[in-house]
């Protein structure tokens, strides 16, 4: 281990570099490493689709071990959708295989003259022609590579036609149903003419203190298997959230116009389980086993068998488009996987188009003769195809909803985004901490970098344990701004460590099993670095990562103005349901959050904060650019 693979596609050169020790000690792994590398190697204002962008495939110190949720890996680059920090995590087996091949990270730069794919077989690394693969979907690409190299155990991360055509929210797919979905990492890969990375590793991974590590791993294994909500996840997966969010009136419906969806029952986890369930699947070594394969036996989509959808797909391709046909959602979700599209952004751009159509801003003619009315699932599925192929209106939507509105000069006020990223399936009006999370998230309207669940799922004991009993009941009140900055910051710090180790979101936020103390114990046992075992030190590393990612965005010109929410969340009260009348009061939470982070009122890290975290060079760079 301790090796980094550096691939220059322009020069067609592959280099093995040593992982710098300072990087490991100060940034832990995954997201931490990427933050330092992207800040150091990218120029502010550069074109995310230009050859100089870096595409990093990252793993962490727990990847490949028996820690029960360590099957994750991640991709990082400047995002072509948001023009800021891009990061996307994925499950499956690719990260594990990369680690077993002997690499902590692969950094890709440059652009190949002709399509290529990277083949990593332990020490033997080659760039191979991808002429036959170009134009193929992600499942075909995976199968063809395994066939051509004669080994079905090869793990593949690849792009589909959407990434090739630089759809700005193209994803990178792995293992047929696992996606590094958000922020357009597939478009960056496409811009480099890199069709796939195929990897096979025969090496072993070891930890520093095996006995201690195995004690912790076995205990963690038991804790997951004993957690009742984790067991529910195994049975139903993330669609569990549909019924819950329906009950609290926060199931985003018709481009977030409301949180009440009439057809929710048809999309609930128990309905799906009873009518469509085919199989449970799992990422590498995971005890949660949340993935589901579903099968449609009747109706227009009969015969379809596919992995997914997750809750977010049911939201974006379903409720947010007013669609209650599960077969259509599974079909669209499968198309997203095959073409390589982020299912969240894909559904959300369609929802935006539907709202524009509803309001008469766009005509049938503008939409290539289609009628994008709420609930029209045939049109939704057709639009997904058109986006992936960049045909007609699909070519406009392929730019993301923010750019699409700009290009058409219409519907800007109905673009549900933060920092140009389409919003994930939460609503800050009825879940105040998520209002702040969406607003400040480093990659835009995203829940996964700091989603707090204690105020929505009623985890009072967890809240008391993590933040102190004196913070109750307000900390668990979804309609109160009180303490939300504190808990969002704590979640963001914890998740910076989670994303550097790299372990799964499920088992930290939801269900609430592991948190910083667990990460400290396992990080020190795995690496032998004692300071990782000290909570204070681990928080310092977390803050270093959060500040460095923020500095990356500040350098791109962002500040408080961009930590905003769609007007719908701050000015249109929730129209019905249990949360009727609620709006998000962002400013109060934002002020508190900046103060806790040691940032200026304008949302820029101060020199003092950066100096304290050992980021003086970052402060100097921001000063040089007049951003400090």
């Amino acid at each position: 281990m301790g090796q980094v693979l550096r691939v220059d596609l322009t020069k067609r050169k592959v280099l093995v570099e040593r992982l710098p020790k300072e990087l490991a000690l100060n940034y832990l792994g995954g997201t931490g490493f990427a933050a330092r590398i992207l800040f150091d190697e990218l120029e502010p204002g550069m074109n995310a689709l230009g050859p100089e962008n870096r595409l990093i495939f990252g793993t962490g110190p727990l990847t490949g071990t028996l820690w029960p949720t360590a099957g994750r890996w991640a991709v990082y680059a400047k995002s072509p959708l948001t023009d800021i920090w891009g990061e996307s995590h994925c499950g499956g087996f690719f990260g594990t295989e990369l680690k077993f091949a002997g690499y902590d990270m692969v950094i890709v730069q440059g652009r190949a003259d002709d399509p290529v794919y990277l083949w990593i077989d332990d020490d033997e690394v080659q760039l191979l022609p991808a002429k036959d693969l170009w134009g193929r979907n992600t499942a075909e690409t995976t199968d063809m590579i395994r066939e051509a190299l004669g080994d079905r155990e090869i793990e593949v991360a690849c792009i589909g036609q959407a990434g090739e055509r630089l759809v700005r929210f193209a994803c990178i797919m792995h293992n047929y149903q696992d996606a590094a979905g958000r922020t357009g990492m597939g478009a960056v890969m496409g811009s480099k003419r890199l069709k796939a990375v195929a990897v096979r590793g025969s090496r072993a991974v070891s930890v520093a203190d095996d006995e201690r590590f195995m004690e912790l791993a076995e205990e963690a294994h038991r804790r997951v298997l004993e957690q009742p909500q984790a067991r529910e996840m195994t049975k139903y997966g993330t669609p569990l959230l549909v019924a819950y969010k329906s009950e609290i009136g926060e199931l985003p419906t018709r481009n977030h116009q409301t949180g009440i969806f009439g057809g929710a029952q048809k999309l609930q986890a128990d309905t799906i389980r009873a009518k469509y369930f085919a199989k449970v699947r799992s990422c590498f070594g995971c005890c949660i086993m949340c993935k589901k394969v579903n099968r449609i036996q009747e109706g227009p989509y009969a015969g379809l068998i596919s992995g997914g959808p997750e809750y977010e797909g049911i939201y974006s391709l379903g409720t947010n488009c007013g669609i209650d046909d599960f077969g259509a959602i599974l079909k669209a979700n499968q198309l997203c996987n095959l073409y390589g599209l982020d299912a969240i952004s894909a559904g959300c751009v369609v929802a935006w188009l539907m709202e524009c159509y509803e309001r008469g801003l766009l005509s049938r003619q503008d939409c290539d003769g289609l009628e994008p009315t709420w609930g029209n699932h045939e049109v939704m599925v057709t639009l997904i195809e058109k986006i992936a192929k960049r045909e007609g209106i699909g070519d406009v939507l392929a730019e993301g909803s923010y750019r699409a509105a700009q290009r058409l000069g219409k519907g800007e006020e109905y673009v549900m985004h933060v920092k140009k990223l389409e919003i994930s399936g939460q609503d800050g009006r009825t879940h105040r901490s998520v209002a702040l999370t969406h607003a400040i998230s480093v990659r835009g309207a995203d829940h996964l970098r700091s989603l707090v669940t204690v105020d929505q799922l009623g985890y009072e004991d967890t809240a008391a344990k993590r933040y102190g009993r004196d913070k109750l009941p307000e900390v668990c009140d979804p309609y109160s701004e009180r303490y939300k900055a504190l808990v969002v910051k704590d979640a963001e710090d914890t998740f910076a460590i989670r994303d550097s180790l790299i372990v799964c979101w499920y088992s930290c936020g939801w269900p609430p099993i592991f948190w910083m103390p667990d990460f400290a114990a396992v990080a020190s046992a795995a690496t032998g670095v004692e300071k990782f075992g000290k909570l204070e030190e681990l928080y310092r590393i977390a803050q270093r990562i959060c500040n460095l990612r923020r500095a990356f965005n500040v350098r791109e010109g962002l500040d408080r103005r961009h930590d905003m929410l769609p007007k719908r969340f701050t000015h249109e009260p929730m129209p019905e349901g249990p949360g009727k009348g609620q709006v998000a009061n962002l400013e109060i939470m934002l002020n508190e959050y900046y103060k806790l982070r040691g940032w200026s009122e304008n949302g820029v890290p101060t020199k003092q904060t950066l100096d304290e975290l050992g980021l003086s060079d970052v402060a100097e760079e921001l000063k040089r650019l007049g951003r400090l």
């Binding site: 490949g64 028996l66 072993a204 991974v205 199989k279 449970v280 993935k291």
Partner: protein, 143 residues
């Protein structure tokens, strides 16, 4: 004597058994050094493959140096005697024997001395340690 049994339903394909097996034998994590593995097919197949401890082991017959023997109903490889030719792996009708990625010698399930790591770490709880006779009975009863 018991052996490792998969009743044919419930494997999620996570491969935790493989890594737990490698760790139990080598003290390190690996997908190549496990003595159990998982066949995965799209869209619905995940199936663990492991030695069934044959009564008349083909691997034993194939071994040119007599490194494989049946001891107390368990088929064992004498790693010291093994020359790493792979004849046993070719002979096994189940694909349940392999060559160790760094040592080169034949590796197969030895039941971890009676407390198999794969059974212990299988999150779905579908790998069991059972007597073949009990399996026959169970399957028969189901049919």
């Amino acid at each position: 004597m018991a052996r490792i049994v998969y009743a044919g339903d419930g494997c999620t394909g996570c491969k935790r058994c493989i890594v737990a097996c490698a760790h139990a034998h080598d003290g390190t994590f690996s997908l190549e050094a496990g003595r159990i593995w998982v066949v995965k097919e799209e869209p619905l197949t995940d199936h663990p493959v492991v030695c069934v401890q044959c009564v008349k082991p083909r691997c034993q017959e194939a071994c040119p140096v007599g490194a494989i023997r049946r001891v107390d109903d368990l088929v064992l490889v004498d790693e010291g005697a093994c020359i790493g030719c792979g004849a046993c792996a070719e002979a096994c009708p189940f694909g349940a024997i392999a060559l160790h990625p760094s040592k080169g010698v034949a590796i197969k399930c030895d039941l971890c001395g009676g407390d198999p790591a794969c059974v212990k770490f299988c999150p779905a709880g579908v790998l069991k340690l059972k007597e073949p006779a009990a399996v026959v009975q169970q399957k028969g009863a189901r049919g």
